[in-house]
C-alpha cells in the first residue's frame, strides 16, 4: 500500500523569505521603522537625551556632591545661590537646595515608575478583556470606567490621599494611588483598538491554529496596540509629575521627612518674596523634566503614525 502524500506535506517548508533586492529593501517590522523614525527626529532625541542626563545626574551626582539631602548645614541658613559653597543656595533649615533637587528628582522618578506601571498594567488588562471578550464583560467594565471618569481625577486623588495620609505621604504610596486611579483612559484606548484588531485575519489564523485566548491577547493583539500603550505611558508619566506637585501643594501629597519636586516647589511658593531661589529652581527643573517627557511621547506618537510612512528609506 502506497501512502499518498497529503497536500500539507507537499508544501515546501518556507524559511526566511528571500530578500527581493531588485524592487525593495529588506523588510522591517513596524517597531523597527518607528525606532528609526524616532532616532532621526532631532527634537525627540534632544528630549530623550535631556531626560536621560537629568536621571543620570540625579542618581550619580549625590555621591560626588559635598552636601547631603538629609544633612543640613547649620552655619548656612537661607543662603542665596553661590554663597558658602552652596551652588543653588539653602533653605531656612540649612538644607542644600541642589542636594534636595537630586533627591526630589529620584523620588519623582520612583513615583512615575510606580504609577505608570500600575496604570498601564490595569489599563491593558481591563481594555483587553473588554475589547476581546466583548458582550457582558465589555458592558460591565466600560460602565465602571464611565463611573470612574465622572469624578474629576484630581478630586478622586484628593479623596484617596486625604483618607490615607500615611500612604500618600511617601513617594511610593502616592505613585501607587496615582496608578490605581489613573488607568481609565488607557483602558478605553486599548478596548477601541482591540475591537477592530480582533476582526483581522491574523487573529482568525491564530484561532484556526489553536492558539488560546491568552496567547492571542498577549502575543498578537497587545504588540499591535503597542504605540497606543507607549504614548499613553509617557504622557501619563508627565501627568503624574504635575499631579504630584498639585496634590502636594494642596497639602494632600508627599509630606516630610520624604521629599519630592512637588514638595520643594510648594514650599518655595511661600518663600517666593524672601528666598526666591527656592521657588524658581525647583519649578524650572519640573518644567524641563515634564517638557522632555512630553516631547518624547510626542516623538513616539509621530514615529508610529502611519501617515509618516515612507515606503523606502
Amino acid at each position: 500500500m502506497t501512502v499518498q502524500p497529503s497536500e500539507m506535506q507537499l508544501v515546501v517548508p518556507s524559511g526566511e523569505p528571500e530578500n527581493d533586492t531588485e524592487f525593495g529593501t529588506a523588510s522591517r517590522s513596524q517597531f523597527r521603522q518607528a525606532v528609526s523614525r524616532f532616532t532621526r527626529s532631532w527634537m525627540s532625541m534632544t528630549a530623550l537625551t535631556v531626560f536621560v542626563l537629568i536621571v543620570a545626574t540625579a542618581y550619580i551626582a549625590p555621591y560626588i556632591y559635598k552636601w547631603k539631602f538629609n544633612n543640613p548645614d547649620p552655619t548656612a541658613l537661607s543662603v542665596p545661590p553661590g554663597k558658602q559653597g552652596h551652588i543653588l543656595g539653602t533653605d531656612e533649615t540649612g538644607f542644600d537646595l541642589l542636594a534636595r533637587l537630586f533627591r526630589g528628582t529620584q523620588r519623582d522618578l520612583l513615583i512615575i515608575l510606580v504609577s505608570t506601571s500600575i496604570a498601564v498594567f490595569i489599563g491593558i488588562i481591563v481594555g483587553a478583556v473588554a475589547g476581546y471578550f466583548g458582550a457582558f464583560a465589555d458592558n460591565v467594565l466600560m460602565r465602571f470606567v464611565d463611573i470612574m471618569l465622572t469624578v474629576p481625577y484630581l478630586v478622586i486623588l484628593i479623596l484617596a490621599c486625604a483618607k490615607y495620609p500615611n500612604t500618600a505621604g511617601t513617594a511610593l504610596g502616592i505613585g501607587f494611588l496615582f496608578g490605581l486611579f489613573g488607568w481609565m483612559g488607557l483602558s478605553r484606548l486599548v478596548r477601541a483598538q482591540f475591537l477592530s484588531l480582533k476582526e483581522r485575519e491574523f487573529v482568525e489564523a491564530a484561532h484556526a491554529m489553536g492558539a488560546s485566548n491568552f496567547r492571542i491577547i498577549f502575543r498578537h493583539l497587545i504588540p499591535n496596540a503597542l504605540s497606543t500603550i507607549l504614548v499613553f505611558g509617557t504622557l501619563f508619566a508627565a501627568t503624574s509629575i504635575v499631579a504630584e506637585t498639585s496634590l502636594t501643594y494642596l497639602g494632600y501629597g508627599v509630606k516630610p521627612p520624604d521629599t519630592s519636586l512637588g514638595l520643594l516647589v510648594s514650599r518655595g511658593v511661600d518663600a517666593v518674596n524672601t528666598r526666591s531661589w527656592l521657588f524658581y529652581y525647583p519649578g524650572l527643573l519640573i518644567l524641563v523634566i515634564v517638557l522632555a517627557v512630553n516631547l518624547v511621547g510626542e516623538g513616539i506618537r509621530n514615529a508610529f503614525d502611519p501617515r509618516n510612512n515612507r515606503v523606502r528609506d
Binding site: T150, I158, A238, S246, N294
Partner: protein
C-alpha cells in the same frame, strides 16, 4: 430636531443619570464607611459619658450604611418650579447642622465665575492659535506657538498661577498698575457696596485667576485644534474647492475651519473635569473662598455629607458638560451614527 436625535438625547440623558447614581453610591459608601465626623469630639478631654453616642445618634451614624444612603438619596432631589433648573438638590446637613446645599451654592457661584470665563477664553485662544499654527504649519509662527504650548502643558497649574501673581505684584510695585492678587472681591465690600460696586470689584479680581486657568487649559486644546486643522487641510474636498477656484482664505474659513472645529467640542468636554481640578488649585493661589476651600474644610472635619455633596456637584458638572458635548457633536456632524 428629528426623531432619531430625540431618541439619542433621551438615551444619553438616561445614561448620565445612571452613571451619576452609581457614582453617588460609591462615593457615599466610601465616605460613610471611612470618615468619622466625630473625630474632633473624641479628642476633647473630659467628655460626659454617652456624649459620643448621643451625637452619633443625632447625626444618624449608628444606623446601617445602606439605610443612610437611601435616606440621603430619597431627600436628594426636590422639584421646585421657582428655580431655573426646576429642581433643587438637598445634600443634607454638615456637622454644624447647616445646609450643605446652601453653602455649596455660594461657593459654586464664586468658582463658576472663574471656570466659565476661563472655558470661554480658553476656547477662543485655542481656536485662534490652533488655526494659525495649523495653517502656517512648520513656519516660524507655528514653531513659536508649539514651544509656548508645550511649556504651558509642562508647567504645574499652581506654579504658573504663582508666577503670574509674582509678575502682577512686581508690576503693581514698579509700574503703578493695580492688579488684584488676593481674594475674590474687596474685603467686606458685600456689606457696604452697591450692586455695581460689588460687580466691579469681582470683575477686577477675576482677571488674573482667569488668565492663569485659561492659559493652562488652552495649551492642550491648541494642540488638538492644530492637529484637526492640519487633518482638514489635507482633505480631498478642500483640494476640490481650491481647484474650482475658490480663494484660499475663503477655503480655509468656509470649508476648513467649520469642519476643524468639531473635534474640539469633545476635547473641551473631556477636559472639563481637569479644569475643575485646576480651578481648585488656582483658587488656592489667589486665596479665593470657593469650592476648593470648602472641600479642604470638609475633609479636615471628615464631614460625610459635605464631602459627598461636594463630589456630587463636581460630578454633575462633568456629566452635564459631557452630555452637552455629545449632543452638540451629534448635531454638528451628521455623519455620526445616532445609535
Amino acid at each position: 430636531m428629528g426623531f432619531p436625535m430625540l431618541i439619542f438625547t433621551l438615551k444619553r440623558f438616561l445614561n448620565s443619570i445612571f452613571v451619576l447614581l452609581a457614582a453617588s453610591f460609591i462615593v457615599y459608601m466610601f465616605a460613610a464607611s471611612q470618615y468619622d465626623p466625630l473625630q474632633k469630639l473624641r479628642q476633647q478631654p473630659q467628655l460626659q459619658p454617652g456624649t459620643i453616642e448621643r451625637q452619633a445618634h443625632l447625626l444618624g451614624l449608628d444606623r446601617p450604611l445602606l439605610e443612610r444612603y437611601w435616606q440621603w438619596l430619597s431627600h436628594l432631589i426636590r422639584f421646585d418650579f421657582h428655580s431655573i433648573a426646576f429642581i433643587r438638590f438637598n445634600f443634607g446637613t454638615d456637622v454644624n447642622n447647616t445646609s450643605v446645599s446652601t453653602q455649596l451654592a455660594t461657593r459654586l457661584e464664586i468658582t463658576m465665575r472663574m471656570v466659565l470665563l476661563a472655558i470661554v477664553a480658553a476656547i477662543i485662544i485655542a481656536i485662534i492659535a490652533g488655526v494659525i499654527s495649523g495653517v502656517r504649519r512648520d513656519k516660524p509662527i507655528d514653531f513659536v506657538v508649539t514651544i509656548l504650548t508645550f511649556m504651558l502643558i509642562a508647567l504645574p497649574t499652581f506654579f504658573f498661577a504663582a508666577l503670574l501673581k509674582q509678575g502682577a505684584i512686581y508690576l503693581n510695585q514698579h509700574a503703578g498698575t493695580d492688579f488684584k492678587t488676593t481674594g475674590d472681591e474687596d474685603f467686606g465690600i458685600s456689606t457696604y457696596g452697591t450692586h455695581s460696586e460689588i460687580l466691579h470689584s469681582q470683575l477686577l479680581h477675576l482677571i488674573l485667576p482667569t488668565i492663569s486657568l485659561a492659559l493652562i487649559t488652552t495649551a492642550a486644546w491648541i494642540r488638538y485644534q492644530r492637529a484637526s486643522m492640519i487633518d482638514v487641510l489635507e482633505a480631498d474636498y478642500l483640494r476640490l474647492a481650491r481647484a474650482k477656484g475658490v480663494r484660499w482664505p475663503t477655503v480655509v474659513r468656509r470649508h476648513g475651519l467649520r469642519n476643524a472645529l468639531i473635534p474640539l467640542t469633545t476635547v473641551v468636554a473631556i477636559d472639563v473635569g481637569a479644569l475643575f481640578g485646576g480651578a481648585i488649585i488656582t483658587e488656592r493661589v489667589y486665596v479665593w473662598h470657593g469650592m476648593g476651600e470648602y472641600l479642604n474644610i470638609a475633609l479636615g472635619a471628615q464631614d460625610i455629607n459635605a464631602v459627598v455633596g461636594w463630589v456630587m456637584v463636581s460630578a454633575i458638572f462633568v456629566v452635564a458638560f459631557n452630555l452637552f458635548a455629545d449632543l452638540l457633536y451629534a448635531a454638528l456632524d451628521p455623519r455620526i451614527r445616532l445609535a
